[in-house]
Every structure is written in C-alpha cells, then in structure tokens.
C-alpha cells in the first residue's frame, strides 16, 4: 500500500512589513533589464528585456532560465533596473517633506535637543505597548507638527530654511528646487536613533531607501500578456509602463554620457520621475494619468490593490471554489425540510472523494465501472501520489484494475450526501445551511418551502448555489454545525426562523378550528404525509381536527400558549390574570396536555416563522431532529388538509351587505364633514395651534388623524360584516397572508396616501394635480383614496397611489447600499471577536471587550430568548413531588 499523502505541515505565523533597500533589490533580482524591447523577430523574449525568460515564463513550452520549471510551476522572479538618476517615490512624498523639514540640513539631526529625542522615542514605545499602533501613529503626527516651527538646529546651530512642496512631487527649499540627489544625501545623514521620532524603524526602513536609485521589476507572471485571436500579443498595463520607464531611463543614460546640455537632462529626468510615479499610482490629482493609445487610463500598482475590484478585496479576501453548482430553485413540500433536491445532471458532475479501503474496495469499484455517464458512477480516481485520472470509456477498465486501498474515488453525489446550500445576499449564517441531497429528475434545485424564509428566497426565478464539502473534516463540520436543524433557533432573537407558511398555516388552522372527518379520511391524510402508526388516533368513527393534529405531537408534550386572536400579548400567559382565571376567549389560548390539543387553534402565533413558542418548546424538549421532523409533518398535514378541502379566494369575498356599505359610506361622509369644519375654522383662524406647530401644520395633523380614524372605522365595519367563511378572511385570520387592513382596502376604502408622514402636498402651484382647484385643502385633493380596490380608483386616486408606490421604490433603492455599507463596517470591525476559554470576549490582539458575553454568558440561540426558564424548572420539580 502506497500512501504518500502530502500534509500541510507549514503554517505562516507572521508577516513582516518593511522597505526594500537598493542592495536588497539587486540581491533578489535575477536579471538586469536594459532594453525596452520585449520580443525579437521570431517572437522570442529578448534577453535583458522586460519579458526576459529569467523573470519567469508565461508561454507554454518555454522553460524558466532561473528555476528551470515550466509554466504554472515557476512563480516568477524579480528583475531590476538601474535608474540613471534617482527619483522620488510618490507614496512617500509626505514623509520626505516631514523628514526634510524636521531635520537639520547640515548635520542631519532632528531639530530637538538630544535629551528630548530619547524621551520621545521612549514615549512612543510606551504608547505602542500600552495602547495601539494607531495611538502611536497619532503621537508621531503630533510630534512632527510641533517640530515644523523650529528654524535653528540645536546640535550644530545651523539656520534652517523653509521647505515647501509643489504637488505632486517637486520640493523647494526657499525658492530653490531640491533635486532627488540632494534630498537623498540629506536623508542619508539622519542617524538611526533620530528616525524613531518619526515612527520609522531604521532597521527595516532607512529613510534614503524611499528615494529610488534602482527599481525592482515585477516578474512576468505578475503581468502576463494575452494573445489575441489575431495572433497579436497584447501586453499588460504594467509592462507598458515599465517599458516607458526603461526607454526613458536608457535615453537619460545616453544623454548623460554624451554630455548633453543640462536642460535636456533635466527634462528627461522629470519625464522619468513622471513615469515612475504613474507606475506606482496612476490616479494622482495633479498629474495627467498615463493612457493607452485608446485613451483609457492604465491600471498600475495602486489601482491593482485598491478598492472592491482590487487584489485585496477581490482576490485575497474573496475566494472562488470548485465543486459548486447554481440553478433555479423550486418548491417541493414533499421532501424533508433538511433535504435539497438536486437534478441528476448536477449530481453526475459534482463529486465526493471517497477513500478506498480494503472494506469498501468492491463497493467503490462498482462506481468506477459505471463511469461518468451512468448514475451513480465516478468521474475521477486519484492515485495516492496525487495524480488524478479521468475515467473515460477507454480508461475505465484499466482503472478498475488499478484501484486499490489508498486510492481516492471521486464518485457522483448520492442521496444523503451533505451539501451546503446558499442564497445571496448571505446576510446571516442561516443563508448558508447544510442539506442532505435527494437526487431528483428535472433541472432545478428543490427545497421545502418552509426553509425559504431563512434564505429569504422565493420561487419567482431565484437561483441558489450548492457547495460540496470535499474532506471528511468539512463534511463533519457541515453536518454537525450547519444542518438545517441546528439553525432552527435564530441567534438574532432566539425564536425559530423556520415555520409553517401560507397554505400550511391555513390548512392547520382550518383543521384545528372546527373540522371533522371520518377516521378513514384521517388515516388517509396521515398516511399521505408518511405516517404509519395510527394508534394515537382515537378509535371513533368521526374524528375531530384537533385529534388528528394531536397525532403528530409527542405523547408527553405539555404546552400552554396563545393563538393569534389573543389580544393581551404584553404578558406571558401564565402571568396574565385573564388566562389564569380562565376568562380567555376559547380560541385565543392554546393548551396541549399530554400530547393532545385540549383547546386552541393552530395559527401563525404557534406555527409561524419567527413567532412560534410551540416550536421553541418542542425544540427545547425533544431536540433538533424531532422538531424538524414534527415540523415537516405539520407542514405537510396542513397542505394535505387544504388539498382535500379545497381552498380559494374570490372577488365576492369582498362583497359587503347593503347595511355595511352604507355604514362605510356614512363613516367616510362624517369624516369629510368633520374635515370641512376643520378647514373652515382654519380659514376663519379659529383653529388653535398645537404647541411648537404652525396653524397649517396643526390642521394637517388633525385632518390626517380624522382620515385615519375614518379608515380604521371603515375597516372595522368591513371586518364585522365580512363573511367568516371566505378564503380571504380565513387567510387573514389564520395569519397565513394578508391582514384586516388589506381586506378593508379592498372592500371599503384604500385610505390616505402618506408621503414622508404627511399628506401629499407637491405637484403644481398650490395644488397637487391640475384637476383640483388651487388651495383646495379637502381630503381628495391631497391623496385620500375614498374608493376600495374592488370598486376601483378614480384617475386622480390612482395617480396618488402611484406616487406613494414610487416613493417606496425609491426608499428601497436608496436603503440597500446604505445598509450594505453599514453591515460591511460592522462585520469588518467585529469579525475577530470571539469567546475565549475563560469566557471573556476578546478581539484578535487579546484585548478584553466583555468579561462575560452579554453579561451572563448565555447564548441566545441555545436559551429561551436569552434567559433561562426558571418557571418551567420549578414546575418540573414541584410537579414531580406533588
């Protein structure tokens, strides 16, 4: 048995930052670049050119002259160019200025007496030790600021002259330009210990290294050229820029050697400075950016690193994966909550590596035998030495022979494999959960609609991603930490994020409200949701809906709660005197004793997502696996019941009896007359203003209040008179969809359209729309929609509705990026907080943020909304001994 697994045995433990000295650059370089030419006539890289093959290879077939390896193996090597004259580095220009201003031009010492220098550098070390790097930086800035005013060197008594910066990179000393050579010689004079005052560590960054005398040339692998379809080569932006630098540099050399006049040399020197500057940063305010021939600016080093599309955020902090799939999702209530339906095509492309041992060898060989085209087969085998072999029609027989313990077989995904399911935007951890695969026909991912909520998914064309963990560790973590059932209780508020939705709620509501059916029918329903044991159904001819529902919950489950219709939601039931005295409306409380519903209706308050105390209690009592199973059963039961009963919603649901509609009409009329009176008294200036408000504001508020009252009254009338048997009412009452306001809007009156908390007031001069009179203050001229959706809106009313609609669209469009940025900042600042073994919360450097998480060390998702249910424990103990 050959087993030469390559383990990761090295770990980066630290990254050091520092400047490259000219010596270092030369030392690490493998080639000196002397010519701007890239290729010779044959298209072969020129020696000493920018594409020199000593710098690495980007052509297949060529071998790197330095390390001898081929494309993709050679990581590339640095080169260098000798600059004819030194140039400044733009990114350090501020520092150069500070250094020149704060050191003596003669002796190079810092412009503070010796004793103070020591004091400052010690102080800085202290600050760093006790506070942070950031505090140190701030102190350095303060010290430097104080130095600028000194104009006499305390060491050699030399007079200092004023140094100014002409942006971007020209430095003057009292009207005279300082050349980089001059600057460099001054920086050289600064002693190491004086650097400390500037926050520079001279052992890694000598000040004079900032002035470039040699320049490192990045390896070719960092700036690969692309071959266009026409066979033409297109070079990378960096290569272009480097070409410019080398060209000017050569010309400068030639001119200096030829003894050209000073002006020409100066000009070329400036040009070199420009090219080197734009090589580092092509986005400097005072400089015209270097451009392609097409006019588009070059992307040089700074642009490569910076911003969202830059190296750091795009490539380093964001990774791409293999073994993933993406397609449209569709609902399937018949698969389990923790399953995901995967199309067979996908299952045959994605693979799971399985290690062959002597015990599963025969089993795995069967997969290999079936190959990539027959499900379930295998696509690749990996030899112990890491060589990957594709299984094809030609090779598969030979591979079957070859496979032996130690080989990895990349077999197709099968039912029960654990995969990670994800929908963007991944705003919380429930956006990525592990599911068990169910391989299904067709081409969409199938999920139980109950788990759509944590993903915030719907099925109007949403796409989702699947990732297949590839190691045993990853699979174990996914299964133990990421499965749906482990994510049931949200860490945000400690309630279930998964619950019944829509038709499942309606179904259970109808079932537990007043449904009765024959035992046969009940058995049929329960069997259809996968139940086999019907012993819990009472042996009666006619069964009550509550009894059928009870068959799903465990026999020893006790629960007291409330349903949606309970109006005293502020207090927990057990503390509510209404409840204790048994005065609750029969429908508004839920009591389950010994696994049987005694009273109560199952609606959103108990089954819904983000609500159900029932679900949380089940979870607490029976654990995650049972909860998820029971929830799945309840969900399917609801759907089944609804399917059998039939359910629809009609336009006639909105019909009101004659008395009701005249009543609505009267309410609205009353409100209108009231408002007329208000407007009248306003016009007569009899209206009394609220404190801190003007008269017109007061009027507006009063009108708004009157109109809202009228709408609410109309809504109540509708609610009173609407038939309790209609689909619309049942949906609203069970909490499955819609609310009484929606019903009132359809049946009676849509109500006031509010824009930023006020009535609609914009549009034309002194009026909202041209169909109204000027200065009309009446409700209909300011966005009150008197009609209901069913009777239809007037054109002006429709227009007002569109206004608020547009406003809310804008609101969402503006909000998304704002909240996204807030989220990014929060996540970035807090991502490395963790609970330590001593239960303190610390950040990465070990600073304590909290001594105990949340002051009591309780995990929200593990407890009951962040606290321990003492009442239950007491009842448990006392109940036992009773």
């Amino acid at each position: 048995m050959v087993d030469k697994e390559r383990f990761t045995y090295k770990k980066v433990s630290q990254v050091d930052f520092g400047l490259l000295s000219p010596k270092m650059i030369k030392k690490m370089a493998v080639a000196k670049v002397v010519t701007p030419e890239l290729y010779d006539k044959e298209g072969y890289p020129v020696d000493g050119g920018l594409m020199d093959i000593r710098l690495g290879v980007i052509d297949p077939g060529l071998k790197c002259k330095t390390c001898g390896s081929k494309l993709k193996e050679c990581i590339g090597h640095f080169g260098y160019i000798e600059l004819a004259r030194p140039v400044l580095h733009v990114k350090f220009i501020g520092l150069i200025l500070n250094l020149l201003r704060c050191t003596c031009k003669e002796c190079g010492r810092v412009l503070i007496p010796q004793n103070k220098t020591d004091k400052f550098s010690k102080e800085l070390d202290d600050i760093e030790k006790n506070q942070s790097f950031d505090a140190r930086r701030k102190r350095v800035r303060a010290i430097i600021l104080n130095l600028k005013t000194i104009n006499k060197c305390p060491h050699c008594k030399a007079r200092q002259q004023k140094i100014t910066l002409d942006k971007p990179y020209t430095i003057f000393e009292a009207e005279k330009r300082l050349s980089p050579i001059e600057i460099r010689s001054r920086l050289e004079k600064i002693p190491d210990e004086d650097c400390k005052v500037f926050g520079i560590n001279a052992s890694v960054a000598r000040p004079e290294w900032i002035i470039l005398t040699v320049m490192g040339i990045p390896p070719v692998t960092m700036r690969p050229s692309i071959t266009l379809e026409s066979g033409e080569r297109s070079e990378d932006d960096l290569t272009h820029k480097l070409g410019d630098i080398v060209r000017i540099n050569q010309r400068l050399f030639e001119n200096i050697n030829a003894g050209a006049p000073e002006i020409i040399i100066e000009d070329l020197w400036d040009l070199l400075q420009y090219h080197v500057t734009t090589f580092f940063d092509n986005n400097i305010a005072q400089l015209p950016p270097a451009r392609h021939r097409s006019g588009q600016p070059l992307k040089t080093i700074t642009e490569r690193i910076k911003s969202k599309e830059g190296r750091i955020r795009h490539n380093l902090a964001g990774k791409r994966t293999n073994f993933s799939a993406r397609t449209v999702i569709s609902p399937d209530p018949m698969i389990d909550l923790n399953e995901v339906g995967m199309p067979k095509i996908v299952a045959m492309k994605l693979t799971v590596p399985e290690r062959a041992t002597e015990w599963n060898l025969e089993y795995l060989k069967k997969f290999v035998e079936r190959g990539p085209k027959k499900y379930p087969g295998a696509n690749y085998v990996v030899r112990p030495d890491g060589k990957k072999k594709k299984i094809t029609d030609d090779t598969h027989e030979q591979i079957i022979e070859e496979v032996q313990p130690g080989y990895l077989v990349e077999r197709h995904i099968m039912d029960g494999d654990v995969v990670i399911f994800n929908r963007q935007p991944s705003l919380h951890r429930m956006s990525m959960m592990a599911h068990k695969v169910r391989v299904l026909p067709d081409k969409t991912f199938r999920m139980n609609p109950a788990v759509a909520h944590p993903y915030n998914a719907d099925f109007d064309g949403d796409e989702m991603n699947i990732h297949v963990p590839q190691t045993e560790e990853a699979r174990a973590e996914a299964e133990i930490l990421m499965m749906i059932e482990t994510q049931l209780i949200s860490p945000r508020y400690g309630l279930s994020v998964i619950g019944c939705i829509q038709d499942a709620i309606t179904g259970n509501y109808l079932l537990t409200k007043d449904m009765q059916m024959s035992r046969e029918k009940a058995v049929q329903i329960l069997a259809s949701i996968g139940m086999t044991d019907f012993s819990r159904l009472p042996s009666k001819k006619i069964l009550d809906g509550k009894e059928i529902f009870s068959a799903l919950i465990p026999e020893d489950f006790n629960f007291t709660g409330r349903s949606k219709s309970c109006k005293r939601k502020a207090k927990p039931c057990l503390e509510c005197d209404h409840f204790v005295k048994g005065k609750c409306d029969i429908d508004s409380r839920v009591i389950i004793r010994n696994g049987k519903i005694e009273v109560g209706i199952m609606d959103v308050a108990n089954l819904g997502q983000g609500a159900g105390f029932l679900l949380r209690n089940l979870h607490k009592r029976y654990g995650k696996e049972d909860t998820i199973r029971i929830l799945g059963d309840i969900f399917r039961l609801g759907i089944r019941v609804l399917l059998l009963r039939g359910f629809t919603t009609n336009l006639s649901d909105m019909d009101l009896p004659e008395a009701a509609s005249s009543n609505v009409e009267k309410t609205l009329l009353d409100a209108e007359t009231e408002i007329e009176g208000l407007i009248d008294s306003y016009r007569k200036k009899e209206l009394e203003a609220f404190p801190g408000k003007t008269l017109i504001e007061t009027l507006e508020l009063k009108i708004l209040e009157a109109l809202n009252r009228a709408r609410n009254n109309a809504g109540n009338i509708v609610l009173e008179h609407a038939s309790r048997k209609t689909g619309t009412f049942i949906m609203a009452d069970s909490g499955a969809r819609g609310n009484p306001i929606n019903m009132a809007q359809m049946a009676a009156c849509v109500g006031q359209q509010a824009l930023r908390g006020k009535r609609i007031n914009l549009g034309f001069k002194n009026r909202t729309l041209s169909c109204f009179k000027r200065n009309d203050l009446s409700p209909e001229a300011h966005g009150f929609i008197r009609n209901g959706f069913k009777s239809g809106l007037k054109p002006s009313e429709f227009f007002f509705a569109a206004m608020t609609g547009r406003d809310s669209l804008m609101d969402t469009a503006l909000r998304t990026p704002k909240s996204g940025y807030l989220y990014r900042r929060l996540a970035n600042s807090m991502q490395d907080l963790r609970v330590e073994y001593d239960h303190t919360v610390r950040e990465a450097a070990g600073k304590i943020i909290q001594f105990k998480y949340g002051e009591d060390g309780i995990d929200v998702s593990k407890s009951e909304g962040g606290s321990i249910n003492i009442k239950r424990i007491i009842e448990q103990v006392i109940g036992e001994t009773d």
Partner: protein, 382 residues
C-alpha cells in the same frame, strides 16, 4: 428569606441575576430538598445555555444588526404623539449612532424635574428659562435710522415678561456690545436706540451691527432651540430640541439622575464612558423597537462595548474602531489599503495573523470557532 444558605452555595456557579430570578419565582412553601433540586437543574440548564469558547460572537452580532438593517425605513418620522418634535429614526439614526458622529442631526433632551416642579409648578416659565433666547426672539420691530445712522429696536414687552426679564436686563445685554452706545427712547420705554461709537462708521457697518445684535444671547442654555413641557405619566417633563447636557445638569431644579439626551459625546463628556455605552444601547434599542424589529440586546451590547472599550466613544469606521486593529492586513482589507501598507512598511510592523481576514488571505484556518483549538499530537510508529 429562607434557605439563604443554599443560595449561597450556588453563588459562584450562577449569575446573581439568575439566583435573584429563582428567589423571586419559588413558592413560599418549599422544602430544602426541592430547592436543591431546582438549583441543580438551573445550574445544568445554565451550562447547556452557555456560549461555547471560540464562538464567533462578533460576527453573529454584526449579522444580527446588519441583516434587519435592510428592512428598516429611511424616513424621518414624527415622534410618537400628536404634535411633538421631529426625531431621526430608522436606518439614518442607526448609521448616525454607529458612525459615532460628533454632531447629530436631531439632538434632543428629556429633562426630568425635581419635586415641586415635576408636578407642574411654573413649568412654562422653567421651560422658557432653559430655551436659548436671542435678541431677535424678543424683538417686535427693528429699524435702521438712515439719517442718524442708528438702530432702533422695539422689544415685545409680552414676550419679555414671559421670559421673566425686564427692560433693564435688555439694556444691560445691549450695552455689552462693544463700540456701541445704547439709550432708551424717551417716548416709548420699549424702544432702544443703538448708535455705533466706532470711528467713521458707515451705513454698511450698521447693517452688520444689526445682524450682530439680532443674534445677541439673552438668556437660557446654549444649544437648546426648542422646549416643550409634556406630561409623562403623572409628572411633567421638559422635552427639548437641541441639547447641552452638562449645562442642564447644573441647574438646581433638574433631576440629574434621570435627565438624558441623545448625543453620545455629550453623555460621555458629562457622565463618563459607562454612561455613553448605556446610551448607545438605549438609543439603538429605541430605533429598533420603533421599527418593530426584534434583536437580542446582547448583540447591541457587544457593538456598544466595541465602540467604548478604548475609553472614548469611537465609531465603527475606518477612523474609529477599525483603525485600532492590530493587524495590518485586516485594516488594509477594509478601506484605504495603500495607506496602511505604507505606514506598516515604515514602522516595520509585524502581522501576527491572529484575526480572521489575514488567515483567509493566506488560506489558513481562521482562529475562531472550530479553527480555534490547537491540537498537538505526537505521531508514533513509522
């Protein structure tokens, strides 16, 4: 209280709050054995509920606040009640708090009063005495006499009376203005005539002077632009627009144990960082509650602690909390990477790779959650 000894036994195993909770909830008649059993069960339950070491609590909190952020409204709403002041709520307010902004868009105070005043005594006068009043607020007329080059101003005697000051005080305030001479008109006591005593004062200067006089400070507390006495429960409080906590707390009729404002920096300044931390929690909670969202307070507490742990209120921005991070790469991965890389190079910073992003960048396990424990196993045999 009976069975004190049993509770004592559990003091180092449970939080005081949980013990208090048990004390409050147990029935009067209970045997020692039962209590012991209860306490043991509570301890066990507590152990089950504890956060596990390595739990990435920071990220969970960030998610818990960031995710519902998408559901918040952008609008500035009226404060609850019919006609009170406008308050920034919703997402803008959350951003404002977490940014740690020095000046907030709608500063506000709730001033509680000491006993005789809290029942409504002199409430209006007290409120007005707090409000920052400028000269222009008490004027009824202001004219420039072009011939004499003087300013004539007439004060609104009713308003002056309301404020509890008299003409003499007005005169005093006016005469404080340098290079002017003030006299009361002989015909109307309410009229003051101001003449510039500066050499060669032109009409132009008088216009400038007029603006200056308009903004002369008369009385009240600087920064408080609007006052509103309201009844809350059984007592009267004063709500203000604009805030100046330090100055208000110095007033003798103010109940300084309950008076608050919504400006974090003022609170930190007047009451210290602990109070500011609590203020952040309260303010965030207020917004979240108003939006009808549900977030556990632990998450908000953690954010608040993050903003306050360095002795001063810091925003969650690149200038605040994030600039304090010890890792160069972590800072660089947030914003302005070049700046941080260059600074790091000069100082010779060393990144110890102890937080999350750096390790992501290097394809290494992150030191939170299951990546935290380190196991060293000596492999024996071949």
């Amino acid at each position: 209280m009976m069975h004190e000894d049993i509770f004592k036994e559990y003091e180092d195993k449970l939080n005081p709050k949980i013990i208090e909770d048990v004390k409050a909830k147990i029935p009067q008649k209970i045997t020692k054995a039962q209590l012991k059993q209860i306490m043991d069960l509570v301890v066990e339950e507590y152990k089950n509920c504890r956060v596990e070491p390595g739990e990435s609590v920071g990220l969970v909190s960030a998610e818990s606040i960031g995710e519902p952020g998408t559901q918040m409204t952008l609008n500035t709403f009226h404060y609850a009640g019919v006609a009170e002041m406008n308050v920034t709520t919703g997402l803008p307010r959350v951003i404002e708090i977490l940014d740690g902004r020095k000046s907030i868009s709608t500063p506000m105070m709730e001033i509680y009063l000491e006993n005789p005043y809290s029942t409504g005594k002199d409430i209006k006068r007290i409120a007005l005495s707090i409000k920052e009043t400028k000269m222009k607020d008490i004027l009824s007329e202001m004219n420039i006499n072009v011939i004499d080059i003087t300013i004539e101003l007439k004060i609104n005697s009713e308003k002056v009376k309301e404020l509890g000051i008299n003409r003499a005080t007005v005169l005093k305030i006016l005469s404080k203005e340098p290079k002017t001479a003030v006299r009361q008109s002989s015909t109307d006591k309410d009229i003051f005539i101001i003449r510039s005593t500066a050499k060669d004062s032109s009409l132009n200067d008088v216009y400038k002077l007029r603006e200056k006089i308009k903004n002369l400070f008369v009385q009240g507390i600087k920064g408080i632009t609007q006052v509103l006495p309201v009844k809350r429960g059984s007592e009267f409080i004063i709500m203000t627009a604009g805030s100046n906590l330090k100055k208000v707390l110095e007033l003798e009729f103010v109940d300084d144990t309950r008076t608050i404002c919504n400006d974090l920096f003022e609170i930190a300044d007047a009451l210290g960082i602990e109070a500011a931390r609590q203020a952040i929690i309260n303010e965030l909670f207020k917004v979240i509650d108003m939006q009808g969202l549900n977030i556990d307070k632990r998450h908000i507490m953690l954010v608040s602690d993050m903003m306050c742990y360095s002795e001063k209120v810091q925003g969650i921005t690149r200038y605040g909390v994030i600039s304090e991070k010890s890792s160069v790469l972590a800072r660089a991965s947030f914003e302005t990477p070049i700046k941080y890389l260059i600074e790091a190079a000069l100082v010779g910073e060393k990144d110890k790779l102890r937080s999350v992003v750096e390790n992501v960048m290097l394809n290494q396990p992150v030191p939170v959650g299951t990546g935290l424990p380190g196991l060293i196993v000596e492999v024996k045999g071949k």
